[in-house]
């Protein structure tokens, strides 16, 4: 914002340069710029400098989208509801976001099968092939690379052989348990350990039975505002997460061709 004042000749104002820069039709400013390129350069420098004000203030007081969602579902107390309503009247961006929630959530909810059924009904008998809702759904299904893992419990001896194979020296000491998940052709083994500082650490191993490579994992705490945890897998498909908060988490294992998601892992003490 510490821009230098421009030394403009009489009859030319800085706001006119700004209007021209925004695309307003001001032919006399265009002629002025052609004749005074150095002043135009200084003006542009000033503009960049003044831009810092917007960079610092941009939507600085906007409520989170979770709060807007809670406002939509009428879950906020009276004070917070009033605050959000006032903000929506003031902020065009939040108002637009709220309108989008209102507009889209108000649409009738259709489950995949009934949507497909409706699409089939609407399909003209001798129609020229064209993108239909069913086609779109098919397309969505084809690009879907997410595999949902299911828990294999209790851990039977048959599965015990594929549980964690990490280095013995890295094995957690103290109370721990192992859980095994199945996700398509891949198994996921997690050894969960409670630590003395009331956090949890996980030693994990991905065991694909087909040549699918995974390289990254992300853990999201589901019932708290805790930040997510991320880590890369080593070349043997192992990972180690430390200092996890107790509670429910979601685990996402990403690779180039596929993502595996374990929707809910309970890390509360057992």
């Amino acid at each position: 914002m510490m821009s230098e004042p421009l030394n403009l000749p009489n009859g030319i104002e800085e706001w006119e340069l700004e209007a021209f820069a925004d695309g307003e039709a001001l032919p006399y400013i265009e002629r002025f710029i052609v004749q005074n390129p150095a002043l135009w350069e200084q003006f542009m420098r000033n503009q960049r400098s003044e831009r810092k004000l917007t960079q610092s203030l941009y939507r600085y007081d906007c409520p989170t989208l979770e709060t807007i969602q809670s406002y939509y579902w009428n879950e906020l107390d009276t004070g917070a509801t009033h605050t959000i309503a006032e903000h929506l009247a003031l902020c065009p961006h939040c108002a637009k976001e709220f309108q989008m929630v209102q507009r889209l959530v108000a649409l009738p909810v259709a489950e995949p099968t009934s949507v497909a059924k409706q699409a089939a009904k609407r399909q003209p008998i001798s129609a020229v092939p064209m993108p239909s809702l069913r086609g779109v759904l098919q397309e969505v299904t084809e690009q879907l690379q997410i595999v949902i893992a299911t828990l294999l419990t209790p851990l039977t001896p048959a599965y015990a052989t594929v549980t964690l194979r990490s280095d013995a020296t890295q094995q957690p000491q103290g109370q721990s348990y192992t859980v095994l998940y199945e996700a398509g052709t891949t198994d996921v083994s997690l050894q969960v350990q409670q630590t003395v500082d009331n956090t949890v650490q996980i030693f994990g191993q991905i065991l694909p039975t087909e040549p699918i490579s995974f390289n990254h994992i992300r853990m999201i705490a589901l019932r708290s505002t805790e930040q997510g945890y991320e880590s890369n897998l080593d070349e043997t498909g192992q990972f180690h997460l430390t200092e996890l908060a107790t509670g429910e988490h979601q685990l996402i294992i990403s690779g180039t061709q596929q993502k595996i998601v374990i929707p809910s892992i309970d890390l509360n003490p057992r």
Partner: protein, 267 residues
């Protein structure tokens, strides 16, 4: 709405009604003639199978609802997985619908958004909310709202990136070039407390309502004068008036001691 009387252990001839079961309201239309507590005897896989058999009278809904109940109230991990499997295509379609509405976020990975939306749903939809739910449609509407807010969150992130690096809209090359820098944002820029303090200084420099409106919409909402005029057509005579007022305000901010201190602190 018809409320049916039920026997000690059985629901009778229910078509479109409210059903009471063990002090619990099963508040949706159903046409099953099954013993009360029947749902509780089913395994999660049985529930999923019946939930998948969509019927015009919505008689499949209690099974879907029971899956949600076990997942949310009993925190049954297997039920979570089955809900994912059952609804992931729907969530995917909602996500794509949202993304299609907004060309600015076309570079976002839909897979990530789908998973974030589910995570957001698990976070937000508690057992207390499930008690208030009057149908599976309500639960799915809530899930739908989680999808929309997740997509909007991605858009906010994208916009923030554009503002910080002053990237022209729809310039993927510039966006890609700035991606690394965005991972480590300038703390001073993001410091909400500092922003609050800067805004107070700006507000103090405003001498009248017109200036305050322009300051708010220019500096906080990043709107151009034409957009401000469209929002407040009666407050200003024309767009040039907005340019004039904004320039006067910027000149005042340039001279303001407090503002000068802010910029020195920001380096």
């Amino acid at each position: 709405m018809q409320v049916c009387k039920i026997g000690r252990n059985h629901v009778k001839f229910v078509t479109s009604s409210v059903i009471f079961s063990r002090n619990r309201l099963l508040p949706f239309a159903m046409s099953i003639q099954e013993p009360v507590g029947f749902l509780e005897t089913l395994t999660p896989d049985d529930l999923q199978k019946r939930c998948q058999q969509v019927r015009p009278d919505n008689s499949h809904e209690p099974f879907c609802f029971e899956l949600f109940r076990r997942a949310i109230v009993q925190r049954d991990e297997h039920c979570w997985s089955l809900i994912y499997q059952h609804y992931i295509k729907l969530v995917y379609r909602w996500t794509n619908d949202c993304l299609k509405e907004d060309s600015q976020i076309e570079y976002v990975n839909a897979d990530d958004l789908v998973l974030d939306a589910f995570a957001s749903f698990w976070k937000a939809f508690t057992a207390e909310k499930l008690q208030q739910a009057h149908s599976v449609g309500y639960v799915l509407s809530y899930l739908h709202s989680c999808v929309i807010t997740t997509v909007l969150m991605a858009r906010r992130k994208h916009e923030q990136k554009q503002i910080i690096h002053h990237i022209p809209i729809d310039d993927p090359v510039m966006e890609s070039a700035s991606a690394d820098r965005t991972e480590q944002p300038d703390d001073s820029t993001f410091d909400a407390m500092a922003a609050d303090s800067i805004w107070k200084s700006v507000d103090q420099c405003c001498q009248e309502n017109q200036e305050r409106v322009i300051a708010r919409l220019s500096f906080v909402s990043d709107l151009e004068p034409r957009e401000i005029l469209a929002l407040h057509p009666t407050l200003f005579t024309d767009v040039m008036e907005i340019y004039r007022i904004r320039r006067n305000l910027k000149n005042r901010l340039r001279r303001d001691k407090e503002m000068q201190t802010h910029w020195e602190e920001a380096g």
